[in-house]
Point group: C2
Chain length 263, copies 2
């Protein structure tokens, strides 16, 4: 679980990631709670001009500032995916929230450095709330360091996930075992769930049916607050990971949660 | 479905309801995302000092300004419940949201006038967002009139509800029939769901397992925006109503939704 990076992420890259979030939010807030056309993608998920324009705004800044960096985004084809530095972008996490006026939609920006999630931004434009995690730095919420809370066992844990309907096949029962072992579950928190775990307001953020865009940014956020985030088998998350992830604030419950998921 | 009130709610009562929301929000925001003790009530739901203090702040203002009015609140015993004017209060709707740092928690304030829900406030303190509905007035969002959107059939409807786990017994299948007939479902929007229907961003807000505190304020908000809100049998909602409610933005889909719920 130790990072391959002997040195921490340069502040210049953290500041640049913030500027990417600023650029995305300028786009999303022009469209939030405004009339907007909604298309349906091949996977039946919705997409809007705001998703596309926000991703293009981010891509333009990266291309201008770090033309050698790679970019993998949800809405357009990858660029330089084999680079030492690869940005992984979800311009609007929670498009259904976005199109229904729920202010929990977010923008997710991850930087993969030599294959590891080294920097992550969780941006909530409509709330003016931003979590940033980076290797070698404490995770911050709007600039202030945050810390996950203690939760020595699952019984009183607060668990968050997007929707029960994202769990398919054996994942249905796996999630049910974990949910019933905890205190209570909140649905529909979108990517803020990872931030709330990092800030010590919730204990577990779990998802299934996700793509790498949907979670890689959360890894440095949760780990920089003292937590741990892996796939359901306990493996570190990277560009090759699957659709099931779990982030916990207190590493002591990570094994217990994985045992229930894989029982 | 016509109101018994030949005249509209006086502006003085609307302004007073706003001042009640201000008083509740001053309390809730002192405690939101701060360390707080959580008790468990007899029904296993959580409650905090913020719930109690917010309700007491509202009750104190009512007692001082309208000592003859009744008050029914979630956390303390009823006062004058047979009065011509009865306030029905949920100081924190979504206490689980409140204690996990989710800004969607709300305060719900309804005024029953001769037994009918004549005035309702949906207040989101952490977001600075307030819907007000009142008989004889257009529903407003932060002071600006809003209108529900057209949705002539269920197929593309956006449906919102708190949690699938609030549905018990036959309500489980009833909700499933409705959910599968629509476009998509969002969980965990709390009482903002009613506001988003009123503002034309969603089409249906449905709940089961609720108490009168949890929904009476939403009736004037949705109806003042052109929608309709009833129990699952299509009856108007009042102090004697049960635990199942549905609010729709476009009255044309109300019958279709009820047919599915009662199939």
């Amino acid at each position: 679980m130790t990072s391959i990076h002997s040195k921490s992420v340069p502040q210049s890259l953290i500041d640049f990631a913030s500027s990417l979030a600023d650029a995305a939010s300028a786009v999303t807030m022009r469209h939030f709670r405004q009339p907007i056309d909604v298309e349906t993608k091949a996977d039946a998920s919705p997409v809007t001009i705001a998703d596309k324009q926000a991703e293009l705004a981010i891509r333009a800044l990266i291309e201008k500032t770090y033309p050698g960096h790679g970019v993998i985004g949800e809405e357009f084809p990858p660029v330089n995916p084999g680079s030492e530095f690869v940005w992984v972008i979800d311009p609007i996490d929670g498009t259904k929230s976005f199109i229904t006026g729920r202010p929990l939609f977010g923008t997710l920006i991850a930087l993969m450095w030599q294959g590891e999630a080294a920097l992550g931004v969780i941006e909530h434009a409509a709330l003016g709330e931003r979590w940033i995690g980076a290797t070698g730095h404490p995770t911050t919420f709007n600039g202030n360091p945050v810390r996950a809370r203690a939760c020595p066992n699952l019984v009183k844990s607060a668990l968050m996930t997007s929707s029960p309907h994202y769990y398919k096949g054996t994942a249905v029962d796996a999630f049910e075992r974990l949910r019933r072992s905890g205190g209570f579950v909140m649905y529909g928190t979108e990517c803020m769930a990872y931030g709330l775990v990092a800030s010590g307001f919730a204990d577990i953020a779990i998802e299934a049916g996700m793509d790498i865009f949907d979670y890689l940014a959360a890894v440095p956020v949760i780990e920089g607050a003292g937590g741990i985030m892996t796939d359901w088998q306990g493996r570190r998350l990277d560009l090759t990971s699957g659709d099931q992830v779990i982030g916990v604030g207190d590493p002591r419950i990570h094994d217990e949660a994985l045992s229930l998921l894989n029982a």
